[in-house]
């Protein structure tokens, strides 16, 4: 068949299809599509694919091929867009998916915990023995800031924070802490180095500061403050690091796959960890802003609730779940 006849025969279908695509692609105009129009789309699409194959095979004009190619791409995007039942997925993920991810990768989880808490403990011990060490880790003005923040005297003097400050701090924690979590994850793609850096650095920092607080005997304000949100926040940082290390490690040791495939596979799992970690960080920011900072609560309450939260977090993550059904 000559190109001219070919075009004449198929043009009405192409035009109808293009018109349908144009309407479909603009959200507001999608309603204008009648049910019949929608039903036509797949069969038109198949005819179009057929026409493109013929046009290519017979080397019809490049413009025609390009035009059909473009139409097929648009159709492909509409027909193969993935639909997801979001709400169901989210609930299922929180109830089963996320803990299962952790459990399937338990050795990595414990290893990452060690990478984070190990340096923290070492630095804590060293700083308790030699208090001067704080200044090798934290700049002096920041040390002063920490001291001012957790000064028990200031609390007794009745510095009751207004609730709008709570909200400001909530914003700050979200912006700052979740950002740190995301960076800990993302930089892991550089052969795990970034994640390791953030984990170890934050571990060292946290260990040193805790020890310094012990040294200057501000225990009564600092530990009740951190125990509440620490459960979610520290665990989330570990999980972010874990996800990042997973990315980097897939590039270092891809096994039987190509590095690119290994990376894609690892990312698919790592992003699930990140969803969970983000949720943890959000909860942490909330607790930190509205609970930990409250001065109305006694330390005993804070320790009890904080302890229970730690148990809950680990119980949630490690309690055995049923196997995936789908």
């Amino acid at each position: 068949m000559r190109q001219e006849e070919f075009e004449q025969q198929y043009r009405p279908i192409w035009q109808a299809f293009e018109e349908n695509m144009r309407k479909f692609e603009i959200r507001a105009q999608r309603k204008e599509l009648s049910e019949d129009d929608v039903k036509q789309i797949p069969s038109h699409y198949r005819t179009l694919c057929h026409a493109l194959a013929i046009a290519k095979e017979r080397q019809y004009s490049p413009y025609l091929i390009e035009h059909l190619d473009n139409l097929v791409l648009r159709g492909h995007q509409v027909i193969y867009s993935r639909r997801s039942q979001l709400r169901h997925k989210i609930i299922h993920f929180i109830a089963h998916g996320f803990p299962r991810q952790i459990q399937q990768q338990q050795s990595l989880f414990w290893l990452t915990s060690l990478i984070f808490y190990g340096p923290a403990l070492v630095m804590f011990t060293l700083t308790v023995i030699n208090p001067e060490l704080i200044y090798s880790m934290v700049p002096p003005d920041q040390v002063n800031m920490f001291e001012a923040m957790y000064d028990p005297e200031a609390r007794v003097l009745g510095r009751e924070r207004a609730s709008d400050t709570d909200f400001m701090m909530f914003g700050h924690y979200i912006q700052n802490n979740i950002g740190i979590g995301f960076r800990t994850f993302a930089t892991g793609i550089l052969f795990t180095l970034g994640s390791l850096f953030f984990l170890i650095f934050n571990g060292l920092f946290f260990g040193t500061v805790s020890a310094h607080i012990v040294n200057i005997k501000y225990n009564s304000t600092f530990f009740p403050f951190v125990i509440g949100h620490g459960s979610f926040e520290l665990t989330a940082i570990v999980i972010c690091g874990m996800a990042g290390i997973k990315l980097g490690w897939s590039l270092i040791a891809p096994g039987n796959l190509s590095r690119l495939d290994a990376l894609k596979l690892a990312t698919g799992k790592a992003i699930l960890l990140m969803y969970g970690a983000t949720l943890f960080l959000l909860i942490a920011a909330f607790v930190e802003a509205f609970w930990s900072s409250s001065t109305n609560l006694t330390n005993a309450t804070k320790y009890t609730v904080g302890g229970i939260l730690w148990l809950l977090v680990y119980g949630y993550m490690l309690w055995p779940r049923r196997e995936a059904s789908a």
Binding site: C49, Q59, L190, G194, T267
Partner: protein, 227 residues
């Protein structure tokens, strides 16, 4: 052929070509998006600034959301294109040609941090230049591509000319080249048309460039199926 198309086979058994977008368009799109974000911050800063600490909290949350999820939002709900990308005529798709989905978009935008390392997107740029598909690290991990979205295709109109057969047998490629030339000819300047037509001078009869050009058009008309 040396080009920047990425070919995808669709389930219907044919191949479609995705024209890839290079670092320059992508950087420009990024700059435009950055300007838009800065604009939003300025406006929001003035509005929430007068609301005291509460406003500042909202502002901080907004900055967090915009910095990390501005591209995700648009990629998901605006056919793969942030406003900057839309202006540059490019969009994000999965590397099988389907629209970008939620997790791919989140992955590629979280990994932006790694691409920015150590500064000015150096890692991302290196990755794009090494990679055949101009993927930055985020694209590699998420399995996404940035492609040109063509709003239209040039429709070549082949000028009418008396169809005419050529004496020599032509291969399919040669036929296609002649057709393409015919359809492009109205977008070429006259001098260029004749210059190209003269390339075929021994094979095509005609005394002047114009006659040769017209007889090539005749052949193209014949090939197109006009009689």
């Amino acid at each position: 052929m040396l080009d920047t198309n990425h070919t995808v086979e669709v389930p219907e058994g044919i191949e479609i070509r995705l024209p890839l977008a290079g670092p320059v368009e992508r950087s420009l799109a990024f700059l435009i998006d950055m300007m838009i974000r800065i604009g939003i911050y300025l406006v929001a800063g003035t509005i929430f600034g007068i609301m005291g600490n509460f406003g500042q909290g909202i502002l901080l949350i907004m900055i967090f959301l915009l910095e990390w999820f501005y591209p995700v939002l648009f990629e998901l709900f605006n056919q793969g294109a942030t406003p900057g990308k839309k202006m540059m005529g490019i969009a994000v798709v999965n590397d099988d040609g389907t629209p970008v989905n939620w997790s791919s978009s989140v992955i590629r935008n979280l990994l932006r941090t790694a691409d920015m390392f150590p500064l000015l997107y150096l890692t991302g740029l290196l990755s794009m230049l090494i990679n055949r598909e101009f993927k930055r690290l985020g694209d590699l991990a998420a399995g996404t591509l940035v492609v040109h979205k063509k709003a239209f295709t040039h429709s070549g109109k082949l000028p009418e000319q008396k169809p005419k057969q050529i004496g020599i047998p032509l291969t399919l490629e040669e036929q296609s080249a002649i057709l393409h030339f015919g359809e492009r000819s109205n977008r070429l300047s006259e001098a260029r048309r004749y210059e190209l037509a003269d390339v075929l001078s021994p094979a095509i009869d005609g005394h002047s460039s114009q006659q040769r050009y017209q007889s090539i058009l005749g052949v193209a008309n014949w090939l197109r199926g006009r009689r």
